[in-house]
Amino acid sequence: MSARTYTYYPGCSAKGVGRGFTESLEAVFEHLGAGLEELEDWNCCGATAWPSVDEDQAFALSARNLALAEDRVPDAGPVDVLASCTGCYRALLKTERALAGPGPTADKIGGALAAIGLDYEGRARVRHPIDILVNEIGLDRVSAAVVRPLTGLKVACYYGCLLVRPFATFDDQYDPTSMDRLVRAVGAEPIEWPLKTRCCGGSCYCGGPVIGAMPEATMQLSYALLREATKRGADMIATICPLCQFNLEGFQDRMSRRFGRPLDIPAVFISQLLGVAFGIDEERLGIQRLMRWRLPEPAAVGASAPAGGGGDARD
């Protein structure tokens, strides 16, 4: 297997509040003999509220990133662009598809790019790191890299709303399984639960369920996920989106008070779990940034990061 370096688009969240995602992904890919090279001079993906206000402007933002990625690989073949935040992944993928053929949108965006000296040829292939891990690097290589199997750890794999919607490029739209397979490959046990792709409320809070636009709706949505994962015996929730992770991890005390049921379940990035199983130093995986982190015995050998039950963000 030859080492391959992928162009990586982190986006604002996976460099900010969810920087543990980028850190752990970089460490895990490197450990598996692949590299992530951050796209130079990347800009906002254009997600957030922009698409519903002016879709072309959102496309233009994404298209600049895709054009920059293309420039990194001058030959004529397709260029994989990895986006970890599922909001970015969706926004970039939607742009890739919108510009996939001639038409008024392609003309308009092409004109905008030309004004800043860029040209998009349509070679970018927006992909999610989970897709690469499962379908390109492969579960065999993931399993082979495990030095500390997460035996006995029950994980609720939470895919969030955007990984398979609206575009299901590599997994089933209603019953995705790639995270479950990854978790199983490192010795942990994925739980069966029906909320894999239910919205966490991240899209209607923009600043947290406490100060966001629709705090009650957000809390209801997040609470359902936390309650159900706990009820079904999960030790932790594995996520693949900085917004989901933050939303699920950060406000458990407040939700406990609001709904009258104690909540205390770690919500981590799946790449952090993989890294721990690979024996990578926890600091490199950004484990210390988590508010709640614990591995159950006996797999918890050497788990030394902050003990669980931390306070809420901005609470």
């Binding site: 089933d172 209603y174 019953d175 029906p194 909320l195 359902a224």
Partner: protein, 670 residues
């Protein structure tokens, strides 16, 4: 077998061509300047008469042609109108009525090929003129040909023993025709035999179907072959040769009386294998009969699960139990070859595979059922003897029926399956009546067109069945409140009250839609008919020839042509039987005159054509080193004509001169 009518005489003298341009109401005249085309046509060489008329296909239109022919004004005819598929037969007949060979006729398609597909009126008129010029040049060269007739064999093949095939077979048999009814399964009856009751009258499905099944079995004019399939079809309308394969039952059908003693005595004390007839809701033994009224009432041994076949070690208590010595474990596939004049396909449908929609939890939650499974549950001959109980033996208190599963869905099947609204109402009624459960129906739109259907809907509403209008998002076992604990929850938008609802239920019934059988493409190729991309067989005309196909002599009945309920299926089966009777009782079919022939003087004896002919119509005389075409067998495909290196193979109505004249006609105008 081949006759010529001989009443017509070759034309004397040179061609005098009549050109008739049709307005087709505004279909043609709305785009093409018909008068200009007529004026142009009258200037063409050999054109004696040029006229236009509002509808050439009408009786007065045809009379124009016949009159000109009879009065000797013209002796060849060009009609510029629709496509040959539409009205070539009409105008050929008119030409013959006028006293000429029907093949002294040529059609110019100025509707499908011009007015319907050309935006600009001037361009359309120009193109119409070019096509008329081509037809005029061509028809001048047509040779004198006489119509051919072929005898129609009186026997009929019906494929598929569901209610479609049963109805068609009985109608034909009652009319005195011999019918071969071929069914793939071990019994006839099809889907209808699985249902408990039928909408909207709620009559017991078995009570109305089984008399017809036994009538099929006992009818002297019906040869019933179950556990059999058609493996090859050769020939053409009126004279098909069909090869039928019979799969081994390991039980001699003529000897078995259906006493079922052997099943009782099978070494397996209990059923162990999924019973396909009960949709896997019960277990059967390796030797079984699908249901008590199976027709024929003959048991079958499943070699995949029978211990004797798997290990060779079994005391074969079944054989001991049989008083009639009906077992024959050495049976192998056998074949029959039959000759029939016409074929009716009634191969039916399959239901949508609900596991393709994981959001509804089929296969994950045991209390999610398909409608067909529930039909079996409700059926007195089914796995629970008609008791409405869940897999754990308890009675559901609340039942949710989800409509349009797999139907009206861009991700799966875009079509409406037509029967699901009505059968969902029927299931709602029966479940409520039997166990008094609360029943919720989740629908997109209620579609109840049909005699007594809307009244049935009204009755169900009055019985207190809850109707929620909105597409169901999912079925989950996630309990958001104490009331939901231990139940399945149906999440749906209720578009009438404008909110999202969560309704806890004990049982979910998925109203799975209808789709073509997975081997529809194979069947289509076998019988040389066509089907749409989705796999429903294509009728010759959606309105005016709904049971014919583009292959003469092959007809359609029932849901193999599209989703259909029982009344529509039976009506269509009757129509197909009537079409067959019209053909068989007439005793002959008219054949195309466009057969190939070989000019011996130019034939070099290379044999290229012999191997290429798909119909085996070309033979080779080794002594004289010449090929010759049997014009009875020739279908006029033209392959030999195109392949012949010396130009010896020629085809009536498609000679080189005729084709070149046609091309020159277009080019001369351009």
């Amino acid at each position: 077998m081949l006759e010529t009518e001989g009443a017509l005489s070759p034309t004397n003298g040179g061609p005098k061509i009549g050109v008739y341009v049709c307005h087709c109401g505004l279909n043609i005249a709305g785009k093409v300047d018909v008068e200009a085309v007529v004026e142009f046509a009258s200037t063409l060489p050999a054109v004696a008469v040029a006229r236009d008329y509002k509808f050439m296909c009408s009786d007065p239109g045809q009379e124009l042609i016949e009159k000109d022919l009879r009065e000797g004004l013209v002796n060849r005819v060009v009609v510029a109108s629709c496509s040959p598929l539409m009205h070539e037969a009409t105008f050929r007949r008119a030409t013959a009525e006028g006293g000429q060979s029907p093949f002294y006729f040529q059609m110019a398609s100025i509707r499908e090929h011009v007015s319907w597909v050309t935006a600009d009126g001037h361009e359309a008129t120009d193109k119409a003129k070019a096509l008329v010029a081509a037809a005029v040049r061509r028809v001048a060269l047509h040779e004198y040909l006489e119509p051919r007739k072929a005898e129609v064999r009186p026997d009929v093949l019906v494929v598929g023993g569901g209610i479609a095939g049963i109805s068609a077979a009985l109608t034909l048999a009652e009319a005195g025709k011999h019918v071969y009814l071929v069914e793939r399964e071990t019994t006839i009856g099809g889907h209808m035999a699985k249902f408990d009751k039928t909408f909207p009258t709620l009559d017991c499905s078995a009570c109305i179907l089984t008399p017809k099944m036994s009538a099929v079995r006992s009818h002297p004019n019906i040869t019933l072959w179950t556990y059999s399939d058609v493996v090859a079809v050769e020939g053409f309308t009126g004279d098909f040769t069909v090869r039928v394969r019979h799969r081994p039952r390991y039980v001699i059908e003529e000897l078995c009386t259906g006493c079922l003693e052997c099943i009782e005595k099978c070494i397996h004390k209990q059923g162990k294998f999924d019973d396909e007839w009960n949709e896997g809701l019960s277990k059967r033994k390796p030797i079984y009969i699908p249901f008590p009224q199976a027709t024929p009432p003959v048991v079958v041994v499943d070699p995949d699960t029978c211990i004797w076949f798997k290990t060779g070690k079994c005391p074969q208590t079944c054989i001991e139990a049989c008083e009639r010595d009906a077992f024959d474990f050495a049976q192998t596939e056998t074949f029959d070859e039959i000759k029939v004049g016409a074929i009716i396909l009634g191969t039916g449908f399959k239901t949508f595979d609900a596991s393709k929609m994981p959001e509804y939890g089929y296969g994950r939650y045991p209390n999610v059922y398909t409608s067909l499974e529930v039909e079996r549950l409700l059926n007195a001959a089914g796995p629970t003897g008609g008791e409405v109980v869940l897999r754990d033996g308890t009675r559901p208190k609340v039942v949710g029926i989800i409509h349009c599963v797999g139907s009206r869905d861009a991700k799966h099947n875009v079509w409406c399956s037509k029967v699901c609204c009505m059968y969902s109402l029927k299931l709602a009624h029966i479940v409520k009546e039997r166990i008094g459960a609360e029943v919720y129906n989740f629908y997109i739109d209620m579609r109840t067109p049909g005699k007594g259907y809307e009244e049935f809907y009204d009755k169900i509403l009055k019985e207190g069945v809850h109707m929620v209008r909105g597409r169901v998002a999912g079925v989950t076992d996630e309990a958001a409140s104490p009331e939901e604990e231990g139940h399945l929850v149906i999440r749906a938008e209720d578009t009438l009250i404008g909110s999202v609802r969560r309704i806890p239920v004990d049982m979910v019934i998925l109203a799975v839609g209808l789709e073509p059988r997975p081997d529809a493409q194979d069947v289509r190729r076998l019988f040389n008919i066509s089907c749409g991309g989705e796999g429903w067989f294509t009728e010759r005309h959606p309105k005016l020839a709904p049971v014919s196909t583009f292959t003469d002599g092959v007809f359609l009945a029932g849901a193999c042509q599209g989703p259909k309920d029982i009344p529509d299926t039976v009506a269509q089966a009757g129509a197909a039987a009537a079409e067959v009777l019209a053909m068989v009782d007439r005793g002959y079919v008219m054949l195309e005159a466009n057969t190939a022939h070989i000019d011996e003087a130019t034939c070099s004896g290379c044999k290229t054509c012999v191997g290429l002919c798909p119909f085996g119509a070309i033979s080779f005389d080794e002594e004289r080193k010449k090929a010759s075409v049997n014009e009875v067998v020739c279908k006029g495909c033209g392959i030999c004509v195109g392949a012949c290196p010396s130009g010896a193979a020629q085809q009536h109505l498609f000679t080189d001169e005729e084709i070149f004249a046609e091309i020159e006609g277009v080019l001369a105008y351009v």
